[in-house]
Symmetry: C2
C-alpha cells in the first residue's frame, strides 16, 4: 500500500480556503483530519483525542523541543499545534491528510518532513476581488481592513515557495475544490513516489526474460 501524502493548504484572508477544504473533505471522506494538540482546558463536551489532544504547557514544550510538533501558533496565551504522530498515523494508513496552516507553519512542515509534503496556496482571484471580499463582511474598521490587506500581501509574496498556486474564483468554490483534488491525484503519480514499484517491475521483467 502506498503511503498517504500531506497536503499543506494556506491562503490569505479572503481566499475562501475553509470552504474549499470542507468541500474536499465532504467529497473524499478518506482525506484525514489531524487532531491538534492544545494547552487550553477542555470545554464541556470536548473529548481528549477527538476535539484536541489536551496537554499541559510543559508537555507541549517538551514535544516541541523534540520536533514532534510540526507547527504551532499561540492564541489567548495558549498553544495549538500539529502533532507529527497524528500526521504519521494517517499517512501510514495510506490516507492523505490536509493541514490548513499559515505561511510560516507551512514551510516548517516542509522542512521537518520533506518527502511527501505538497504545499498549495489558495488566493482570491486578484487584488480588487480580495478587497471586495474583505470589505463585504461590513464588520471591520478601515484600519483593520488595511491591516488584513497588508498581511495578505505578505502571504502572497511567499507563493513562489509553494508547490502550487490556485485562485478561488468568485462563486466557484466547487471548481476550486475540484482542481485541488486533481492536484492531489496527480501528486500520487509523480515518478519519485514510484521508485520502489519501478524497481520491482524491472526485477520481475528480468525474471521473465531469463
Amino acid at each position: 500500500m502506498n503511503k498517504g501524502l500531506i497536503f499543506v493548504i494556506s491562503g490569505p484572508a479572503g481566499s475562501g480556503k475553509g470552504t474549499v477544504v470542507n468541500l474536499i473533505r465532504n467529497r473524499n471522506p478518506r482525506v484525514g483530519l489531524s487532531v491538534s494538540a492544545t494547552t487550553r482546558d477542555p470545554r464541556p463536551g470536548e473529548k481528549d483525542g477527538v476535539s484536541y489532544f489536551f496537554m499541559t504547557k510543559e508537555k507541549f514544550a517538551s514535544l516541541l523541543e523534540a520536533g514532534e510538533i510540526l507547527e504551532h501558533t499561540e492564541y489567548c496565551s495558549n498553544f495549538y499545534g500539529t502533532l507529527r504522530s497524528e500526521v504519521v498515523r494517517i499517512t501510514e494508513e495510506g490516507r492523505d491528510v490536509i493541514l490548513e496552516i499559515e505561511v510560516d507553519g507551512a514551510m516548517q512542515v516542509k522542512r521537518l518532513i520533506g518527502d511527501g509534503v505538497v504545499t498549495i496556496m489558495l488566493a482570491a482571484p486578484g487584488a480588487a476581488e480580495l478587497e471586495r471580499r474583505l470589505r463585504g463582511r461590513g464588520t471591520e474598521s478601515e484600519e483593520s481592513i488595511v491591516k488584513r490587506l497588508t498581511r495578505a500581501k505578505e502571504e502572497l509574496a511567499t507563493a513562489p515557495r509553494y508547490d502550487y498556486f490556485v485562485t478561488n474564483e468568485t462563486d466557484r468554490a466547487e471548481e476550486c475544490a475540484d482542481l485541488v483534488m486533481k492536484i492531489m491525484a496527480a501528486e500520487h503519480s509523480r515518478s519519485e513516489r514510484s521508485a520502489e514499484y519501478i524497481g520491482e517491475y524491472i526485477s520481475e521483467l528480468d525474471g521473465i526474460i531469463k
Copy 2:
C-alpha cells in the same frame, strides 16, 4: 492568456499509450496535435501541413542542425521529426500539446525546451500483465517477444527521469486518461507558472493599500 504546456508521453510496448492519448484528444479537442516533418514522399490524398510537412532530406538536416527539430526517428530510410515551430505555434495559442515519443526523444525535448515541458511515462500494471499483453497479440515469435520485453525493461529503467509514472490498468483506459488529464490540469497550477501573475497581484495590492 497563459501559454499552453507540452506533455511528452512515452510508454513501452503494451502500455496502451495510443488508446489513452486518443481518449484524451477526444475528450479535450483543444489539446493540440503537432504535425510532424517527414522526408518521405506524400501519398495520394496527403496534404502538406496537414498529414505531414513534407521536405527534402537536405531541408530536414538543416532544420535538425539549427535545433528546430525537437526529436526525430528514422524509418525505412526516411526521417520523421517534431518541429519546434509547430509546438511553439500551439502553445502560444494557449493550448496544450501532447507529443507521443520514445524515451530518447522525450529527454531531448525536455533538454531543448526546458520550461513548460512535462514528461509522463505510461506502463502496463506489472511485468506479468505486460507479458500477457504482448503475447496476447498472438502474432509474434518468441524471439520477437523477448526482444520487446527487453526493450520495455530498458524504457522502464528511465521512468525515474520522467516527471510522472502512470500505470494503465487492464480495461481501465478511461481511468488512465482521466488521471493524465488531472496531471495536465495540476501542472498548470504549479506556482512557478504563476510568477508573473503573483507579481502583478502584489503590485495591485500595494496600490490599494497606499
